[in-house]
């Protein structure tokens, strides 16, 4: 069961982060909040994904079997790349259009 969690946590975390950033952008634009919030969300997503990756690599939280360990670390790396690839534009693109 724990191994299953190790395998699906990285990408589920990316999915949750994606939904959160998406929702935050909509609320931010509607309320007229500053885009710095979105960049903060991006930073938080990186921090959370890094924490998961470090946890999966540690002896305390990482898997004991070679297959699960390597697979979960690979998925953790994919999750991190996905965060960087899909969220990075919030730093340099315009988030809102004034109506």
């Amino acid at each position: 069961m724990k191994d299953l969690i190790r395998l699906f946590v990285p990408l589920v975390l990316w999915l949750a982060s994606f939904s959160a950033i998406y929702g935050l952008q909509a609320i931010m634009c509607r309320q007229g909040w500053d885009q710095i919030l979105l960049i903060g969300g991006f930073g938080l997503a990186i921090a959370l994904q890094s924490a998961v990756l470090l946890g999966l690599a540690s002896r305390k939280y990482g898997a004991s079997t070679k297959f699960v360990r390597q697979s979960s670390l690979a998925l953790g790396l994919v999750g991190m790349l996905a965060v960087l690839w899909t969220f990075a534009p919030v730093v340099f693109l315009s988030a809102c259009v004034a109506a």
Binding site: P89, L93, S94, V97, A98, A99
Partner: protein
């Protein structure tokens, strides 16, 4: 190659009225360029892959370790590095275009409203607050126009293919689309979101005026 020829043949059936490859304004020209880049790029990559596939049938099986190492380089190079490079370049290009199309504050900006309903369009004009037109949107040629798009019932989509991309008309929300016509003339527009039985006839016309005609229109004279 056959894909490209087929595409060109199919395109020959397009009339210019609703054609994205016959742009009549800066936003539409930017989108048309993207379209051509994607078409030519996709065709070139398709030809490359087909040639490699044909060559693969002519190469003997990999038996020793040096051949396997050679194959690995091909897989990493063309199987991973090449798609990642192409997708990264396309993403960057798309993002730059997206920023370019944003309706930013510019001098001489004209603002109009587009209100969709099943199955008609009503247009309003910031320069003439009490005036509205049904089915025909009047704009000045050569000036940037912000169209404030909304809907009173279901979701529709405002699309004048020769002037700009499409943007949804959403009930209770205003979306802003920047359009511009290089020259005076009439440009066809359609709703690009299915909205029920009358969807097929849910169209409108954009009339771009020259300076003199636009002044007369704003003054309330018959265009």
């Amino acid at each position: 190659m056959s894909f490209s020829i087929l595409t060109l043949l199919l395109l020959s059936g397009c009339t210019q009225n609703l054609s994205i490859v016959h742009p009549a304004g800066p936003a539409a020209a930017t989108i048309a360029t993207l379209w051509w880049v994607l078409l030519v790029g996709a065709a070139a990559i398709f030809v490359l892959v087909m040639v490699l596939l044909l060559l693969a049938f002519r190469v003997r099986n990999a038996n020793d370790s040096s051949d396997q190492e050679h194959e690995r380089r091909w897989i990493v190079g063309l199987g991973l590095a090449f798609p990642v490079t192409v997708l990264t370049a396309l993403l960057a290009y798309g993002l730059v275009i997206g920023e370019h199309l944003m309706p930013r504050a510019v001098p001489e900006l004209v603002t109009v409203g587009a209100e969709a309903r099943q199955w008609a369009w009503r247009f309003t004009y910031a320069d003439m607050p009490s005036f509205e037109t049904d089915g025909v949107l009047h704009i000045p040629a050569g000036k940037p126009i912000d169209v404030q798009i909304t809907s009173v019932d279901v979701i529709h989509s405002f699309w004048v293919p020769r002037l700009a991309g499409k943007l949804d008309a959403i009930p209770g929300h205003v979306n802003v689309l920047r359009i511009e016509a290089d020259l005076p003339g009439e440009y066809d527009g359609v709703s690009a979101e299915f909205s029920g039985a009358g969807y097929r006839m849910h169209d409108f016309t954009v009339v771009a005026h020259d300076a003199e005609s636009w002044s007369a229109f704003i003054a309330g004279e018959t265009p």
